[in-house]
Every structure is written in C-alpha cells, then in structure tokens.
C-alpha cells in the first residue's frame, strides 16, 4: 500500500550555536496518518519537530541544512513565508499555553488571524468538540482559558490549532505535563483528528506511540568525537509502528524498546 507523502525531510541537520544537535535525517511523513517520534531525551525530537513549521527560527543561533519538502515544496526556500507555513502546519506544545483571553477568544483569535469569515460560534463549538473539551467548557466560554485544568487547557490548545484547519498538526509531548486520565482523553482526541489531519507527535511514552500512531520513527544520540560531552542525534529507523515494536530492523531499536518495556 503506497501512502501519499505529506512531508519529506531530506538530509536535515540542525545545530545550535555551531553545535550539531541532529544530523542527516531522511524522513517521509505519510499523509493522513499519525507518525510518532520516539527516542531518549536530548536526541533532537523536539528540534526536528520545530523545524517542520519553522518554529526553530525563533531560537537565536539555530541553523538548519538540508531540505524539508511539504507537498513537494521546500519550505526553507527564501521565497517562502514562514507565517504561511505555520498556517498550514500548526503546533501544540508540551506545556499548555492558552492565551490570557476567554476560552471563546482563544479559539477565535487564530481563526480571525487566518481571515475566517464563517460563523464564529459554530467554529468555536466544532473545534472544542473535536478536541473533546466542549463538555468541559460549553458553559463558561467567556471565562479565562486559565480557569481550566491542565488537561483541559491542553485540549483547548489543540482546539485552537484545529480551528485554523491546518493540514498538519505537530505535537511535542502533549501529554507529558498531564495526568493519566487527561492523557487518555487526548489520545482519543488524536484518534478522532487523524481522520482529517496529518499528525506528528513526539512522545517519550512507548505505549502511547503504540496506541496512537501508524508510523514510528526512532531517534538515538551518540556522543560527539570531541571531549565536550555533547551528543548528536540521528534517525535510527522509521517504519510502521507495528514493525518497530514487533521486529525492528536495527539492534539499537530493539535494545531501546525492550529496555523500555523491560
């Protein structure tokens, strides 16, 4: 079965302050699927994720080489506007970060920024429903986003991203700051979302990768040659989640996974 490729990373290397953080990543992301990025901490998962919608450009001294193609278009082409990229490739962060505005405005802000002309109430309701947080806040849309619990805030942030109807949603450990019940809810949300979006999720939780994703990419890190104690991350292998967890091709992957499942 041939999957359409949504994103393609070609020989991507990223460095901070002249120090390479991840190198030579070749990765294809299938359209309309959930791909999870796993690996030990510090191996560059977040770094790779941020580079996909050019959020890395906000970090001073962060440099990228290689190409990232989105529907065949190199998004780092000088002619490309990063804001346009982010309107199509939205992102949800590790820490919930609602705006200091009402719940309603949290959703409406992004939609307005993107020039939404439809019925705003409808959009707010639909987005909150899709993010499975409608029941929690339908009676307090005018209250501050901060009045919600952590898990609800995170789903509000997901709703905010859905509301701009992006093509791809990036999630960087969206559940790591949450309790198990909220985590489960967000996983259900992801299952719903994959019907309409391409999703890339970074997670340190194997079971979560197993539960939510169709494909899994395993990253690892090796110490640098010099004695500074730095690490360089690289992609070990990427395959269907089933294969990665049942019979990975690389021994490294197998060690990591068995160690984790221990």
């Amino acid at each position: 079965m041939a999957n359409k490729t949504k994103l393609s990373l070609q020989n991507v290397s990223i460095s901070y302050n002249e120090q390479v953080a991840v190198k030579n990543v070749y990765l294809k992301i299938a359209s309309g699927k959930v791909t999870s990025l796993i690996g030990p901490s510090g191996c560059g998962k977040s770094t790779i994720l941020r580079s996909i919608n050019r959020m890395n450009e906000l970090i001073p001294n962060c440099k990228l080489t290689g190409r990232i193609l989105y529907d065949g278009q190199d998004i780092y082409d000088p002619k490309i506007d990063p804001v346009e990229v982010r309107r199509r490739i939205g992102m949800v962060f590790q820490q919930p970060n609602p705006f200091p505005k009402s719940i309603y405005e949290n959703i409406a802000f992004g939609a307005r920024v993107n020039g939404y002309t439809g019925n705003m109430d409808e959009l707010v309701e639909n987005s909150l429903k899709k993010a499975a947080v409608w029941e929690d806040c339908k009676d307090k849309l005018k209250e501050s986003g901060y009045s919600l619990s952590g898990g609800q805030q995170q789903r509000l942030c997901i709703a905010r991203t859905i509301a701009i109807e992006p093509d791809v949603i990036l999630m960087d450990e969206p559940c790591s700051a949450l309790d198990p019940i909220s985590t489960l809810k967000i996983e259900e949300t992801i299952h719903q979302l994959k019907k309409s979006f391409t999703i890339i999720i970074v997670t340190h939780n194997m079971q979560q990768a197993l539960r939510v994703s169709d494909f899994t990419a395993f990253f690892n890190a090796e110490p640098t040659q010099d004695k500074l104690g730095g690490k360089i991350g690289y992609l070990v292998e990427v395959n269907s989640t089933d294969k990665i967890f049942k019979n990975p091709l690389q021994k490294e992957t197998k060690d990591y996974i068995s160690g984790k499942f221990g």
Binding site: M55, P60, R87, M91, V113, T161, I164
Partner: protein
C-alpha cells in the same frame, strides 16, 4: 556528677545579653536603624515644609493667574496658572515624542533582536543615554533647535523644551518596555505564532497587551520625571509671564513650574519666593501622585 555537667551546658546555652557578641550585634542594629531614620528625615522635613509653606498659599487666583514680574510693586505676585499649563503642555509634547519611539525601540529589543551586536549596542546606548546629565540635553537642543531656528523660525519654545525632555524620558520608556516584554512568557508567543499569527499580530494582540502593566508603569514614571525636570528647560522653553492663548504659542517661550521655581527662588522679593513655594507644592503633589499611581498599576494583578 552527671547532673552537674547537664546544668553546665544549659547555662552555656542561655542567652547572655551582656555577652560581647550580643552587645556588638545590638550596636550594629542600632546603627543601621539610625541610618535608616537619618535617610528619611530629609524627606519628611522637606515634604512637611513644602506642604505647609506651599499649601498655605494655594487659592483659586494663584492657580489661575499669571505671575507678576519681580518688583512690580503690587501687593500680590500673581499666580502660577500659566506655569501649570506650561508644564502640562511641555510634558505632553515630550510624551508624544518619547512614548511611541520608546515603545517601538523596546519592542524591537525584546521581540525582534536576536541579541546581535546591534541590539547590544542599543541597550548599551540606552543605559548611557539615561546617565547623561539632563543639562546636556538642554544645551544640545539649544544648539540644534533654538539657535538654528529650524522649527518655523522659532527660537525658545515649548516645542524645544518638550524635545529636550523627551531625551530624558526616552531611556526610561525603552527600558521598561524591553523588560516588561521580556517577562512575557515565550510560550504565549509560540502559541500565537504556531497558529499562523504574524509577528505584528503576535506583538500587537498578545505580547504588548500582556506587558501593558509594566509599560504603563514606565510611562507614568517617565512623565513624573519629566514634569519635575528643570535643567533641560532653562535654555529651551525658557520662561514666560503670560498664559498661552492660541495653539501657535507653543512655538514661543513657555513657562513651567520647575523653571518658575528656579527663577523665583533666586529673586530677592518675598512675593516671588512664595510663588516658588506654591509651585513646589503643586509639583511635589503631582510627582508623588504619579509615583503612587505607577506603584498601584504595578501592584494590581493581571485580569
């Protein structure tokens, strides 16, 4: 035996208020307390004096009338009405110049600059500018604006005074904007950018409103500072004995409370001296209120 040593220890642990250690400790505490009292004494004396001496003269005439030139021989020295208006106008001119530029520069430093050498230089320059003696701002505007008559041929003017004061306000506003914006969490910025907001929208709709409190604190402090400054005005706005009557008057000499105090303090006439005290009363009240307002803004919780 056992009992005895126990007693011994407990007596050692007793607080010995005559011990050398404790005496020197109390002495030092006393010294620090005395210094603190000495430090606030001038303020108390000064405010009391200004309030009594200046406050006793406040009446409606004084607040409205123009001052009489020294030695004019009338019973009353007139009022400080034009100086009050002048201070307000000059401060507004200074604010109109320095607030937009200051906030813009602060936004650049906090939002756009990536700690490059340009922004380092600007931050350094801001600090240097805030350390430049205020009289220098006065003589530079004098040389650039007053002497050259570049502003519609006017020489000494409220405009020139406002420009000199804006040099004083500018670094205050830049610093508070820069610092206020730096306190806004990056999470918020990222949240907005990740749903496709441009930098412009993110700054205008998310970060600037969030930093509103600290920026307005800075503006109020800047205004307070400017409204009491004298040195930048004595060669730029100079002084005037008359109320302004038309808009064009801002292109002419303009009085201000601070210059009035300076001029009239040194006059040998009692009436003029008393006007100086009255003007001090108004100025001190104004400055203290502005400072308290900035504190109140700073202490309110974000909604």
């Amino acid at each position: 035996m056992n009992n005895k040593s126990y007693e011994n220890i407990s007596s050692q642990l007793l607080f010995n208020s005559r011990g050398k250690r404790n005496i020197s400790n109390r002495l030092l505490t006393l010294v620090a307390g005395t210094f603190a009292v000495i430090s606030i004494t001038p303020l108390i004396l000064l405010i009391a004096y200004v309030l009594i001496k200046g406050g006793s003269q406040i009446n409606l005439d004084l607040l409205i009338l123009e001052p009489q030139p020294p030695g004019a021989g009338v019973n009353s020295a007139g009022g400080i009405g034009n100086a009050i208006i002048g201070t307000i106008i000059i401060t507004i001119i200074a604010s109109l110049i320095s607030i937009p530029i200051g906030i813009g520069a602060g936004v650049y430093l906090a939002e756009y600059s990536k700690n490059g050498s340009f922004s380092k230089a600007i931050r350094f320059g801001t600090n240097v500018l805030s350390g430049i003696p205020s009289i220098i701002a006065g003589i530079v505007i004098y040389a650039l604006i007053v002497v050259t008559k570049v502003i519609f041929g006017s020489t000494f003017s409220g405009i020139a005074g406002g420009m000199a004061l804006s040099i004083i306000m500018l670094p205050i506003i830049i610093k508070t904007t820069d610092e206020g914006l730096k306190l806004v969490s990056d999470d918020l910025r990222r949240g907005a950018l990740a749903i496709g907001a441009s930098m412009y929208t993110t700054i205008m709709r998310i970060t600037l409103p969030h930093a509103f409190k600290s920026i307005s604190t800075g503006i109020v402090l800047g205004v307070a500072r400017a409204s009491g400054e004298t040195a930048p005005l004595i060669f730029t706005a100079l002084f005037s004995y008359y109320h302004i009557s038309t808009f064009q008057d801002i292109f002419y000499e303009m009085s201000s409370l601070s210059v009035l105090i300076y001029n009239f303090a040194l006059e040998p006439y009692k009436e003029q001296n008393e006007l100086a005290w009255a003007a001090s009363f108004i100025l001190v009240i104004l400055v203290l209120i502005l400072n308290l307002i900035s504190r109140l803004i700073g202490n309110t919780k974000p909604s």
